[in-house]
Amino acid sequence: MRIELVKRKEHSELMSLMSPLIAVGLTALSAAIIFAISGVNPALGLYKFFIEPLTEQWSLEATIEKATPLILIGCGLAVCYLSNNWNIGAEGQFVVGAMFGSILPVMFPSFENSLTLPLMLISGVIGGALWAMIPALLKTRFNTNEILTSLMLVYVAGLLLDYLVRGPWRDPDGFNFPESRIFSDAATLPDVFGGMMSLATPITIIIALVLALVLAKTIKGFEIRVMGESPRAGSFAGFSAKRLTIFSFALAGGLAGLAGTMVVSGSLNQLLPSISPGYGFTAIIVAFLGRLNPIGIIIAGFVLALSYIGGEGVQSGLGVSNKIASVIQGLLLFYVLACDTLILYRIRMVSRRAANPAGEVSHV
């Protein structure tokens, strides 16, 4: 027996929709097996992990809170990946964005008026975009591999934040704890919809919808997709790969920076040595699970946010390590990538000696 791939004549529309669903199904099945190995009733484990967070007000709110940065970062990354720019340093862009966004409330705490928040959000965007410019410019100028440089900058960003909150930005009245001063009310993102979510969530959804429109209906969206699929064809159309690299990195970095500022301003209310449970990396999974499509990413963001809350749930309720959340996230990405094969190929199991039917081009 061996597995043989048969190339489809065209992309399977059905499979484009089905593959993320199959991947989620397979992930749930694997999660059940992991629960069984850990000595927990698999049905109970799955319920606690995937369903229970949706049944209570507080956990639903927590899921929305975690989904928001994932969606925002995932949208930016989707533009990068669609155009073949492998930015995997969103975690660093998120952190630097949060630092830039915090300049005003930390260094000028007396600047309290209606301009405070907009200025913070803009600085966050600028910070994230600037950090993302480093790998982008190194790629366009020196042809340096952006995967490695963007990732290395994640570590540098984390150390920079650590330095700031332990050093110059430490709260003067904070009893030497490594944290910045608490933001004033003017620097805090307000809650909306009766406290269900912070303003960050509607902002994020609007940005995702606008981006969906841009990708589907505008020439810029066309440029992004063409340059990803066939840079040569794109260059004949007059599109510049270098300009697009700069554009997609700036967009992804800007959105990650915005997400960072909104998390700090809306949820944490101060800078801490660690401000992200790996949002920038989880957003990579969100982008792929959402098929690099902003609408899909909104849904995928909620699915992965669930895994954070579900992980806490099984830890406190069933005594299973909350690390199971990152295992499930990793498995999910594997299954998504494996299932995407179904879009371009049909899979057939053949025995060694079976002949290929005439007229079909088959591939292993």
Binding site: L5, L138, I147, L148, L151, M152, I285, A325, V327, G330
Partner: protein
């Protein structure tokens, strides 16, 4: 003092060297496996767990190698059989490895570890200065050097090595000549996994004999950069690994001296150095074009 510094450089360089030489073979076959960090951390946790359970460092190292190979087999299945995107699959491998190792390792946090013993090479280890530095190391340090020499010989002096390089440089022609591109690539991927697993075992059984979550701290990624630094030539991996080993221990020694620089800046040096080196190497178009495997990262789907 100098002797002590050199010793720490060797221990810091060894995991980088081993992981990088494995990835070098993988990339020479035309596959880009970005999951080195994930395979390495799995090697570290499995090696620690097995050594802890059995009391045998050797069994721990073997287990770590097996863990790295198992992870790489998963990667190989996805990118070679299912032609999944290599960059994304490598990332998935790293995310999965970090999560899985965290879950497995939870029981071992704070548990005292076991250090694999040093081997004293008779006579040579008695030479002053050179002896203690080069001939009183643990077995994995020697294995690292043996791997470099072995891989260099294999790639450039044997027929099998030539075939592997041809698969990486032009998979279409290699396939037309009757070589099984996917089988050769799968073997290379498994070798890379074994090396990453061994490098991980060195982290948790020799470098710092304990389990700490996320203890590889980006070394898998630095190993990937080292392959570029070495421009896919085995002996240059040694230079790169020792350079990076030196940069990464700078922090410890600078703190010991009492330099007034915040520790975070010194800790970020290896990452900044990686970026700097990548820029220098990639700016040199001739060097990179000559040695980069032409089919690196490109999927291969044979037609028949």
């Amino acid at each position: 003092m100098f002797e002590a510094v050199l010793l720490t450089v060797i221990t810091a360089a060894t995991p980088l060297l081993i992981a990088a030489i494995g990835e070098l073979v993988v990339e020479r076959s035309g596959v880009l496996n970005l999951g080195v960090e994930g395979m390495m951390i799995m090697g570290a946790v499995i090696g620690f767990a097995i050594a802890n359970q059995t009391g045998s460092g050797t069994l721990g190292v073997i287990g770590a190698i097996a863990a790295g190979m198992a992870m790489s087999a998963l990667f190989g299945f996805l990118v070679l059989v299912l032609v999944a995107n290599q960059v994304a699959t490598g990332l998935a491998l790293t995310i999965l490895g970090l999560g899985l190792s965290g879950m497995i390792g939870e029981a071992y946090i704070g548990v005292p570890g076991l250090r694999i013993p040093e081997l004293y090479i008779p006579i040579l280890s008695d030479i002053p200065f050179i002896g203690p530095v080069f001939f009183q190391q643990d077995a994995i340090v020697y294995i690292g050097f043996a791997l470099i020499i072995g891989v260099a010989y294999f790639l450039f002096r044997t027929r099998a090595g030539l075939i592997l390089r041809s698969v990486g440089d032009n998979h279409g022609s290699a396939h037309a000549l009757g070589y099984s591109v996917l089988k050769i690539r799968f073997m290379a991927v498994l070798f890379g996994g074994a090396c990453a697993g061994l490098a991980g075992a060195y982290m948790s059984l020799a470098y710092t004999p304990q389990w700490v979550e996320n203890m590889t701290a980006g070394r898998g990624w630095i190993a990937l950069a080292l392959v570029v630094f070495a421009s896919w030539l085995p002996f240059r991996v040694i230079i790169g690994a020792y350079l990076f080993g030196a940069v990464s221990v700078l922090n410890l020694h600078a703190q010991a001296i009492g330099l007034g620089v915040p520790s975070q800046f010194l800790s970020s040096l290896p990452y900044l150095a990686t970026i700097g080196v990548l820029v220098l190497i990639s700016a040199n178009r001739r060097l990179t074009l000559v040695n980069t495997p032409a089919c690196l990262g490109k999927p291969f789907v044979p037609d028949r």
